[in-house]
């Protein structure tokens, strides 16, 4: 974080190059690779998290000691991320009812709500691959 007197901002250039590369990689993973839907989703989400980290640490100076703000910015980002995870995963977990009913074998709810929530990803694994490209 001490490069603010250098003429060439190495850190920014590296960060920029990395984020372009990661974007292309994510696009290729989603549209060009032959991975299954679950793998695609997990890996591109991980790539997105890495990119967010690049922005935070290389561009936004989240842990800069000159700021005299200690760990608070980092702390807010971290807890924000935790909460984001709770919100998204929690909502999907809770709102996917209709699938969890294990009574009688009819499962007619499955049809009406097939696309809501994470379960849909698994349901449609097969066709997803073909329609992707």
């Amino acid at each position: 974080m001490t490069d603010h007197n250098k003429r060439i901002p190495t850190q920014h250039v590296i960060g920029f190059a990395l984020s372009i590369a990661l974007t292309l990689l994510a696009a290729w993973t989603a549209l060009g690779s032959n991975l299954s839907t679950m793998w695609i989703i997990s890996s591109i989400m991980i790539l997105a998290v890495i990119q967010a980290g690049i922005q935070l640490f290389m561009f936004m100076h989240v842990v800069e000691s000159d700021s005299h703000n200690g760990h608070v910015p980092w702390n807010m980002m971290f807890h924000g991320a935790v909460l984001a995870a709770i919100l998204v995963a929690g909502s999907l977990f809770v709102m996917s009812f209709g699938f969890t009913h294990d009574h009688d074998g009819e499962n007619h709810e499955q049809h009406e709500q097939q696309d809501s929530g994470d379960h849909s990803d698994m349901d449609m694994e097969g066709d997803g691959e073909h329609e992707g490209h």
Binding site: G98, E109, E112
Partner: protein, 326 residues
């Protein structure tokens, strides 16, 4: 003030006691289970109340001790009764963390257990054969109940008959607002929602007439959205089914659409079900009522509490309501 404080403490102890005495005379619906589901919940509530009373007694006792003993002007206060620099004690912190934790575990186990149990039809008592659940589609519309018996091909409005000692599998859904089916003496509630279908198992062990209602607020007629459950022996139930099948009229789609209009309505029965034209619990049926009656939901009934459901039997228009208001 001192004496008042003590009085207050006695008063506090007396309030619950007198209430318990007062209430043991009458039977509180939830604490008067008439079927296995309500019984399971009753047992759990009683089990939890024991722990809760224990906690209340401990805390109230400690509180009374502290407040009485360490008040500033208690006669006979000693110098050693005051220690301003006491900052805490790790051991005792651990003790009063662990004990509540253990209580939470003790409460969690039967809770989880019963949660899974309630998702299945109640089991028959030992020695009796397990009966197939009777399927009833319980559908609400503002502010009435439809009970459809698909196998028997009959439908009732605002009341239902069930056989005793046989699990009832309610298929819950709603034509419009979210509601909940609750028959306190038979067991707890679940929500009815349009476009989704919830399953609720209940069962009556004793014959009788039980109050049921919608317990989730859904607008002006909410309070009046009640129904009665007639739990009767298998034979009586069968003869009621036969009679309804033979004597009740068929439910036409026009009549059903009319019934779906927001408003109160009286009891009725039909020898066919509305499931033939719409199942509100499916994705196709979720907007059936709202598409037909979109503009009617905003109309007010000007409902006062002494108005009986009969006032709203046939007419839905505002003029008639006005006249019954003043």
């Amino acid at each position: 003030m001192k004496s008042m404080k003590q009085l207050m403490k006695k008063g506090l102890a007396l309030v619950p006691l007198s209430l318990v005495l007062f209430l043991s005379g009458c039977e509180l619906a939830v604490l008067d289970p008439k079927g296995p589901v309500a019984q399971t919940q009753y047992d759990l509530i009683m089990y939890s109340i024991i722990f809760m009373l224990f906690i209340v007694v401990v805390v109230f006792g400690a509180f009374a001790f502290m407040v009485i003993r360490y008040r500033e002007n208690r006669p006979g206060r000693k110098e050693s009764d005051y220690d301003p620099h006491m900052h805490g004690n790790n051991l005792i912190e651990i003790v009063w963390t662990v004990i509540p934790f253990v209580i939470v575990i003790a409460l969690s186990i039967p809770t989880v257990d019963s949660l899974f149990e309630l998702e299945k039809p109640p089991e028959a008592t030992a020695g009796e054969e397990q009966k197939e659940p009777l399927v009833i589609y319980a559908t609400t519309a503002d502010w009435k109940w439809f009970f459809s018996y698909p196998e028997e091909n009959i439908e009732t409005v605002n009341y239902l008959h069930i056989p005793t000692d046989r699990p009832i599998e309610f298929k819950l859904s709603s034509a419009d607002a979210m509601t909940a089916l609750w028959i306190p003496r038979l067991g707890g509630q679940k929500y009815n929602m349009a476009g989704m279908e919830n399953t609720l198992y209940l069962q009556a062990d004793e014959e009788g007439v039980y109050d049921g209602r919608n317990s989730n607020f859904n607008g002006e007629g909410f309070t009046k959205q009640t129904f009665e459950v007639y739990a009767e022996s298998e034979e009586d139930y069968d003869s009621w089914v036969e009679e309804t099948q033979s004597s009740a009229p068929e439910l036409t789609q026009e009549e059903y659409d009319e019934l779906l209009k927001p408003g109160l309505t009286v009891e009725a029965e039909y020898s066919s079900t509305h499931l033939e034209f719409v199942d509100h619990g499916t994705n196709d049926g979720r907007d059936y009522a709202i598409e037909r009656h979109y503009d009617l939901y905003g109309d007010l009934m000007h409902l006062y509490s002494d108005q009986e459901a009969e006032d709203f039997m046939d007419e839905e228009n505002d003029d008639d309501h006005e006249s019954s208001v003043e």
